[in-house]
């Protein structure tokens, strides 16, 4: 059925549209099975250690962990930038609040268990989001970007200058999540196209240690799935629609009875919450944090992930985050060129594909509508 309709509507877009329609048209059980399979595959990725994807110079599990942390950050920032349209250049500040929250509570000032410190740290990030958002969200557009940039730097400078936060040298000995050693998982080794099981190289299921980052990856991946689920629910709700309305035209939204300030603040708080969550997980994984992990550069890399992927589309920003985090690790000999390449990529994207690699469907639809209107107008002119 769907094939015949797409053939009629046009050749060039046929394959893309039919793919989307086909996916949407699948029966629900098939979809669920496909999702589960994908999830299982992702969980097993560091175990499978696939030949081309794997990173030759550095532990693959650690790279996957970094990638998932970036994905988490990008999902959070996408709520602020993509859904609500608020350009936040100080997002690393919330990440820092989360990380410092865990570090201070488990090592510097107290010795709480990680699982108790995590919610408190994340809550602190959320509160900091509300505190920063309440005054700043009255400022619009590019001024907001500069104000958030200022706040991000202030948070970092406070960390650098406060003895109680470890000052410039940072905080060592951050607590780790509790380990439950259940069983060992052996990894695969590839020789050409043939895989064999390496019994010597194993990961212990849920033993969180500095030597083996794979359990952290599993933990973070689970958090990412939860966040994606919440993201889907929120985006489809009244709140999600209100955010989009604010983004498209704040004044019109306000006139239609959307309390724009409240919803923008909510977006800011949720973004801060997710940013704080990834910061807290980062601190747990790293075992040690210093202000240098929260430079403005990271805010820009996060923005790059969101913009490159396609702000407003959660799958797009996930792709963007994977690219931003994975490529420099895979091609480690070019790491020092990374910022240069991202700068140029941002510039080129802004000029030639401002909507990102995978723009949200609504943007695509709106552009098509505009093109059709343009074509209609031209046709009308020709006739007249």
């Amino acid at each position: 059925m769907s094939d015949t309709t797409t053939e009629q509507t046009g050749a060039s877009h046929a394959s893309r549209r039919s793919f989307r329609e086909r996916v949407a048209g699948l029966p629900k059980p098939v979809k669920i099975v496909a999702w589960v399979l994908l999830a299982v595959l992702l969980y097993l990725l560091p175990i499978i250690n696939p030949p081309i994807l794997t990173t030759p110079d550095i532990d693959f599990g650690g790279v996957l962990l970094t990638v998932t942390l970036y994905v988490l950050v990008a999902l959070g920032l996408n709520i602020v930038v993509g859904y609500a349209g608020l350009l936040d250049l100080g997002y690393v500040g919330f990440y820092a609040v989360g990380a410092y929250g865990v570090a201070v509570l488990t090592s510097q000032q107290a010795s709480w268990p990680f699982l108790l410190a995590l919610p408190v740290a994340v809550l602190a990030a959320l509160v900091s989001g509300v505190i920063l958002g309440a005054p700043t969200l009255r400022v619009r557009g590019d001024y907001l970007a500069i104000v958030t940039l200022g706040f991000g730097e202030i948070i970092r400078l406070i960390a650098v200058n406060s003895e109680s936060l470890g000052a410039a040298s940072g905080i060592p000995g951050v607590g780790t999540p509790p380990s439950i050693e259940l069983f060992d998982v052996p990894k695969l080794v590839w020789d050409g196209g043939v895989a064999s099981v390496n019994v010597d190289d194993t990961s212990t299921f849920l033993l969180f240690s500095v030597v083996d980052l794979i359990p952290y990856y599993w933990l973070t991946l689970t958090v990412v799935f939860l966040v994606i689920w919440a993201d889907i629910r929120i985006k489809a709700s009244r709140v999600g629609r209100a955010w989009e309305a604010c983004r498209e035209d704040e004044d019109a939204a306000e006139l239609m009875g959307v309390p724009t300030f409240k919803f923008k603040l909510l977006a800011f708080a949720m973004g801060a919450f997710i940013g704080g969550l990834s910061g807290a997980l980062y601190a747990g994984k790293q075992g040690f944090i210093s202000p240098n992990s929260f430079l403005l550069l990271f805010s820009i890399l996060f923005i790059a992930a969101v913009v490159v992927g396609g702000q407003g589309n959660r799958w797009g920003v996930i792709v963007g985050a994977v690219l931003v985090a994975y490529l420099p690790e895979r091609f480690r000999e070019f790491t020092e060129w990374r910022v240069l390449v991202f700068g140029i990529a941002l510039m080129l994207l802004a000029s030639f594909r401002p909507q990102g690699l995978l723009p949200p469907r609504r943007t695509v639809r709106a552009r098509k509508l505009e093109e059709r209107l343009g074509a209609l107008q031209e046709g009308g002119d020709r006739r007249a």
């Binding site: 706040f151 200058n161 240069l340």
Partner: protein, 329 residues
């Protein structure tokens, strides 16, 4: 508190000379914002390139400590010309590569800001990787003295020995302080006259006021935008020379912090307002100095950032709050 009172004159003079540099850089932000309502985030990099041009020029001419007064003036003039030319060139390039296409498409302002951020990082990193780039081009050996230590600061040859000229209160005002403050004032006066009195200046003001009507009245708006970027670049080049003379070194990532501060100065005085930039620069320089004397030098940048946030929150139009369009002679 005692420290502030004891060193009040010293803090004021150094604050003013720092503020003069902020003000010159702020002019670039203010001009572009006045005409295009765009935060030219990469302007800080224009400044940084100028500072490197000045350093390299003096180095290439063999300038070092103990040169005669005439030679020093020659070095400084050459550095000034080189820095202004290089900065102007970079500013024009920036307009062409990062903004022109977006302007033609009437892209949303946030997209323009993202492009600007991209340009800023690309330019800064290009300077930070210049040894690698030179090696890549096969010029690594010839350019070694210029590209060496690309990620560390490059020192500006100490061609001027700091000598106290006269005493104010109990602070000896040095020749460098005086040079920085007066040259900044002269540059700014020249720019103010240019915008207020000449045909080109009238074009800039017209485009700032209403681009469409301006082009109907025969103002070439593309040319005017280019001119705006060029003027901003020239001012940044002049600021760059004063900066390396005063501070003594430059690094590929110096631009960012100075850029944010200059932007703060521009907003403080009222963005789009040329005289506001001057006032904003001086106020910021003084506030930073007094603030760090009060609560400790390590909080200096926090003072600047806090000032930026507070100004944007409570008086986004700035102290003088006026646009370039309304500037009168």
């Amino acid at each position: 508190m005692d420290f502030l009172l004891d060193n009040f004159v010293a803090l004021t003079v150094t604050g003013l000379s720092l503020g003069a540099i902020y003000a010159l850089v702020a002019l670039g932000y203010t001009l572009v914002y006045g005409v295009l309502q765009l935060i030219n985030f990469a302007h800080s990099e224009v400044f940084m390139y100028g500072a490197f041009a000045a350093t390299w020029t003096v180095y290439a001419m063999g300038g070092r400590a103990g040169a005669s007064t005439g030679a020093v003036i020659g070095y400084l003039l050459a550095a000034l010309v080189a820095a202004m030319a290089f900065s102007g060139l970079i500013a024009l390039l920036l307009e062409r590569v990062a903004y022109r296409r977006l302007r033609k498409q009437n892209a949303p302002r946030l997209i323009a800001l993202i492009s600007a951020i991209g340009a800023s990082f690309a330019l800064a990193e290009l300077m930070g990787l210049r040894d690698k780039v030179a090696d890549f081009l096969g010029l690594g050996e010839t350019l070694r003295p210029y590209v060496r230590g690309a990620r560390n600061s490059s020192g500006f040859p100490e061609i001027i020995d700091t000598t106290p000229l006269f005493t104010l209160g109990d602070y000896d005002v040095t020749n460098i302080d005086l040079l920085v403050i007066t040259s900044a004032l002269v540059m700014m006066l020249a720019l103010d006259l240019f915008v207020a009195r000449t045909r080109f200046g009238r074009g800039i003001r017209a485009v700032a006021q209403d681009p469409e009507s301006a082009s109907l009245m025969g103002v070439n708006s593309d040319r005017t935008v280019q001119l705006t970027f060029l003027l901003g670049g020239l001012m940044a080049g002049a600021a760059a020379v004063l900066y390396v003379v005063k501070i003594g070194s430059i690094r590929f990532d110096t631009g960012f912090l100075l850029g944010v501060k200059a932007f703060t100065a521009a907003v403080l005085g009222g963005i789009g307002n040329l005289r506001g930039a001057l006032l904003g620069g001086f106020v910021l320089g003084l506030a930073e100095n007094y603030g760090s004397a009060l609560i400790g030098t390590e909080w200096r940048d926090v003072v600047a950032f806090t000032l930026l946030v507070v100004i944007l929150l409570f008086r986004p139009t700035g102290l003088l709050g006026e646009s370039l369009a309304k500037a009168r002679t």
